[in-house]
Amino acid sequence: MTELIDKLLMYLEFPFVRHALIVGVLVSLCASLLGVTLVLKRFSFIGDGLSHVAFGAMSVAAVVGLSNEMTLVLPVTVAAAILLLCGGQRAKIKGDAAVAMISVSALAVGYMLMSIFPSSGNVSGDVCTTLFGSTLILTLSKTEVWLCVVLSLAVVTAFVLMYNKIFSITFDEDFARATGLGVGVYNVILATVIAVVIVLAMNLVGSLLISALVVFPALSAMRVCRSFKRVTVLSAVIAVGCSLVGLVVSILAGTPVGSTIVVADIAVFLIFTVVGAVRRK
């Protein structure tokens, strides 16, 4: 045991490990906060969809040769999020169908572009990295870490300030609109925040596993909690805990970062499901 702790302390000496821990925890915290409303609005897969859009945009940026790909990726993802979440009941293709459609189209077009105009010799390696996150999180620069810290703080602040509105919109959008809440504006802000979090989280777990960060903490919390506030707080706690455990385990055992975090989330979900079932009896 002491051996493991020594090993961990040794790793913590490295700045890149500390960076990975900070970013990992902050990103999962943000994702879990938004996860509650997304799961309840039946948009669980939007994380997946938007991250594929980001993947598509990223490959376009690589092909065009943009030096800073975020200048393209972020606006495109935000636009897709607004399209999906704010189309609402008026959209011709809605909900899961719209998410699925946008998601696979972006994935296909992105992969195609990367194959036609390879930016490096290892196309499948590049694709794999974007899809599974792999070691990207361990190569973060100081600027990226600071950017992540600032954006996470902004997301958490926005969430706290909009908490009551988010509740109203999630529970009953029509009622909120009828009683004079500016539903449209809040939906756009929410969609923007979600897109930002997804783009941030892509580095951590990659496109394919992003949904896990969004849905698992919320679903686990919903097994045992009876109020919206408790679900929100507990899912944040679960998300932070699972990310910490996942990151530490992956550092010590040398497992892939993204999938280790997700496995930790799955384990917590199973435990909470059992606890919830027992308590209900």
């Binding site: 309840l40 609005k41 039946r42 706290v160 300030l161 909009m162 908490y163 009551n164 509105k165 509740f167 109203s168 529970f171 009953d172 029509d174 009622f175 909120a176 609109r177 009828a178 009683t179 004079g180 809440l181 500016g182 919903m222 909690c225 009876r226 109020s227 919206f228 506030k229 679900v231």
Partner: protein, 235 residues
């Protein structure tokens, strides 16, 4: 001046018109029941009164200093709401949301309003309970309490007793009737239950092949009601 007046209202979606040339007025303290077959446009009419749906032609005018945000609304329940992890208190309090504007938190006064509304609907003991664990009747009372937080003047109710058993339905009707009589809140209700409509409502709006609007006494003695009450189709 009427609280709500609809003039030559024409409702529908895109090219399909559901209701044409509908005019009626609702005065403060009225109890209006909207009757009609499925698909006749009752819910669309209610959504128009709430400002959620734009009429193709005509207009809805609010009078008596009634603001759009001062209308309480009890919608039909959605699947999402049935298993929503929220406490009764949180849901009722969200009725105050519209009044808060962009200010992010509820005030002490809002919390008191919510407590009063729960007290009024006899659900105060359920305050901390989780919404999804309540019975259908209790859930409707929670949503009605939320609507009361949003208004002191006008309630719009979309089939408030659908899916409830007869005894619970009667309790619900009685509560709504008391809100109308004792608190002087105007009630506009969509209903399928013609007997309860005639019993409690002061006015009836029937939407079908023919449109009827008037006092419920006049409705009872009219042709449409005779057809409906004897089991015919009202023509």
């Amino acid at each position: 001046m009427a609280q709500i007046s609809c003039k030559d209202l024409c409702l529908g979606y895109e090219s399909r018109r559901i209701i044409e040339d509908l005019s009626f007025e609702v005065h403060s303290g009225d109890y209006l029941c909207i009757l009609g077959e499925n698909g006749s446009g009752k819910t669309t009419l209610m959504r128009t009164l709430l400002g959620l749906h734009k009429p193709i032609a005509g207009a809805v005018e609010l009078g008596d200093d009634l603001k759009q945000s001062e209308i309480g609304y009890l919608p039909q329940q959605t699947q999402v709401q049935r298993d929503f992890p929220a406490s009764v208190e949180e849901i009722v309090l969200s009725g105050c949301g519209g009044r808060r504007g962009i200010s992010p938190f509820y005030t002490k006064q809002d919390r008191q309003t919510a407590l009063d509304a729960m007290e009024r609907m006899d659900i105060l003991p359920l305050k901390k309970r989780c919404y999804r664990e309540l019975s259908g009747g209790q859930q409707q009372r929670v949503l009605l309490a939320r609507a009361l937080c949003a208004t002191k003047k006008l309630l719009l109710l979309d089939e408030p007793v659908s899916g409830l058993d007869p005894r619970v339905s009667m309790d619900m009707y009685r509560s709504i009737y008391e809100l109308n009589k004792e608190d002087g809140i105007t009630v506009i209700m969509i209903s399928h239950d013609i007997n309860a409509a005639i019993r409690y409502a002061s006015h009836i709006l029937y939407i079908g092949k023919e449109i009827f609007f008037g006092r419920s006494d006049d409705f009872v003695s009219g042709d449409i009601a005779r057809g409906l009450l004897t089991g015919g189709d009202g023509r």
